[in-house]
Amino acid sequence: MEKNVIETDVLIIGGGTSGCLAAVELKELYPNLSVTIMEKAHVDRSGCLAGGMNAINAYLNPGETPESFTKYVRFDSCGLVREDLVLSMSELFEYCVKKVEKWGLPILCDEKGNYVPRGRWNIKINGESLKPIIAKAAKNAGAKILNWVTATNFIMADGKVAGAMGFSIKNGNFFIVKAKATIIATGGAAGIYKPNNAHDAQHKTWYSPYNTGAGYAMGIRAGAEMTSFEMRYIGLRVKDTIAPTGTIALGVGAPQINSKGEKFMAAKYAHIGGDGAPTPYRSHGPLQEIKEGRGPVYLDTRHITAQQARDLKSAFLDMYPSMVLYWAANEIDPSKEPVEVQTTEPYVVGGHTQSGYWVDVNRKTSIEGLYAAGDVSGGAPYKFVSGCWAEGVIAARAAGEYVQKTGFAQIPENVLKDEQERVFSPLMNQTHKIDGINNYDMEVRIQKIMEEYAGGAATFYEVNDERLQVARRRLSTLPDQFKYLMAEDLHDLMKAHEVIDRVYVAQVLVEHMMYRKETRWPGYCTRTDYTELDDTNWLKFVNSRRDPETGNIEMFTRPYEQIVPGDRYKPR
């Protein structure tokens, strides 16, 4: 095992959607800065975009403005968002989309050369190769790329972030990357709850199973302030394949129906938009139908033509090919029968909801030297691909400016030594043949606790204080078990750290769910002991900070600020 020590002006952790755009922006603005990307897989096909994309889901179509977008996102998030963050990202959608188009992404245009909208905020793309396209732009811009290096912790010096440490899953080298500024862009967290499918389809999840909350966990361990973990993401997806439903619902205008053929969203949620209700309600509505015995629930596609069904399949091939094979394998024709849907396992993902780092408008976190962008960053939901790009750009601009007036920090030697020991201990345990735990066993353990006591799918995502107390108590014993984790090889070692990271995320998540004593986002987090939305007491952000010394998680709130005028519960 060797040590690789690298010095770079800016370190970007996670070479995904936001990480790649951040790298390009930095090199364009400051060609002389050294920029390094640390990526656990290979930037060409890593993260959420590995399979491809078929739409850009956050875009200002003609007639829309950052204000109208922010209004919509506020409505969609049940009246509570960081409006400053949503405004600032939407101002950059055009800039980012034009850039990526220039790099070669095919975007569908009509005869007049205008982008083809798919719903109010979306445009259609042929994004099968979107990830290699943006990765190439980052390489061409001159960023140094460390593929297959899993980040494990920040280097902390004098209360500031001074880079990060990690290890190569290919050769076991310990990486010490010292940086003047660091951008965390590792995406959200999957695998905290029991997955929808089992056995050889256990990773047939919607969110990338390889985004395991590393960035959250690193921040939590370092004492960064986090926000809104309790706004979990539980999406409405196609049954079994867990494929996104936007392609169908927006693509061909398919309403939800129950087993009696009733359009229940239109009937019961008309006051908040029916089938266009805020996203959490579009999961909550069908859940209630199923709970009350009117499942299965479907998206009614029976009105579409054979050509439209083909177009749907083409769209899925660009993003989620397994959907098309599933229909072929099960003799399903979406123009003849409705498409059955279900809700996903809960994820923590700040690009759909708003869980993540508490940041200022420059995406600076509460720790000096550290910026956050994309799904790992909080307060700004409805980011999707383009919002993640925009946040990468914003963080890059701020980090670039910051390094102009900072140098490299003095790093205490024990910080590096301690981490090296922590990182490789599962391998050592294997060597010494201790009576240990393998990563999969611990993964199932945490998923079982979360599923049963912290609002998993089997309990209709419902929680109450008593159940959460059990989850808290059971989770609290896990950190003491890390010392028994074993890893046979470097791949296993990566997986051991993934499960460790998930435990930190799960602990913070449980505290957040317990703290917000209202139900703001039914479906995402329904509290059976506080069933109503309560603007009088809870129109504010629930934040947390784990004390790195004691390990105690402190909970507190931050005020909400309305910037865009108007009714917070209206989409326009």
């Binding site: 060797e2 690789n4 897989a41 290979h42 060409d44 096909r45 890593s46 993260g47 590995a50 399979g51 070669g104 992404l105 095919p106 042929n126 099968e128 190769s129 290699p132 396209i133 190439k136 460390l146 593929n147 297959w148 290096v149 190569s168 899953i169 290919k170 050769n171 080298n173 990486f175 499918n197 089992a198 056995h199 050889d200 389809a201 256990q202 990773h203 047939k204 999840t205 990338s208 199973p209 390889y210 079994d240 083909r310 399949k313 083409s314 091939l317 660009d318 090919p321 397994s322 098309v324 094979l325 599933y326 072929a328 394998a329 099960n330 003799e331 090889d489 470097l490 791949h491 990566m494």
Partner: protein, 127 residues
């Protein structure tokens, strides 16, 4: 099994020490067996069904299969990248053997057969 490898088609990318299928899996699931030099799957149940490994293989040696619990065995989905790299044709065969084809615009970038790894020379990194 979400993905399978047709070993008769795989030529190990002419002795590549770090071939495209191994490099492009976001979950690090394919590996080159240090003893035999063959490409092997570490753990099929960790597969996300995202298909980079399938699309990147120059020999079309890796095939995506639906996990049996989700659907029947005989259906197949085979992506073919055009030589011009700006189109991909997906060949879809349903359980009755009926074939359908979808040709879709894209922009596939060229992929090297090998790539070095930070920190060591290629000969050293087999584990």
């Amino acid at each position: 099994m979400p993905v399978i490898i047709h070993t008769d088609k795989c030529n190990e990318c002419n002795g590549s020490s770090n071939p495209p299928c191994v490099r492009m899996c976001p979950g690090d699931l394919w590996m080159k067996d240090p003893k035999t030099g063959k490409i092997v799957m570490r753990n099929a149940s960790d597969c996300w069904d995202c298909l980079p490994c399938v699309k990147v293989c120059p020999q079309e040696a890796i095939e995506f299969r639906l996990s049996y619990q989700l659907g029947f065995q005989t259906a197949r989905l085979l992506p073919h990248i055009h030589n011009t790299r700006d189109f991909i044709t997906w060949e879809l065969i349903d359980t009755n053997g009926v074939t359908d084809k979808f040709t879709i615009r894209t922009k596939v970038l060229p992929v090297e057969l090998d790539e070095s790894i930070e920190g060591v020379t290629p000969a050293e990194y087999s584990i």
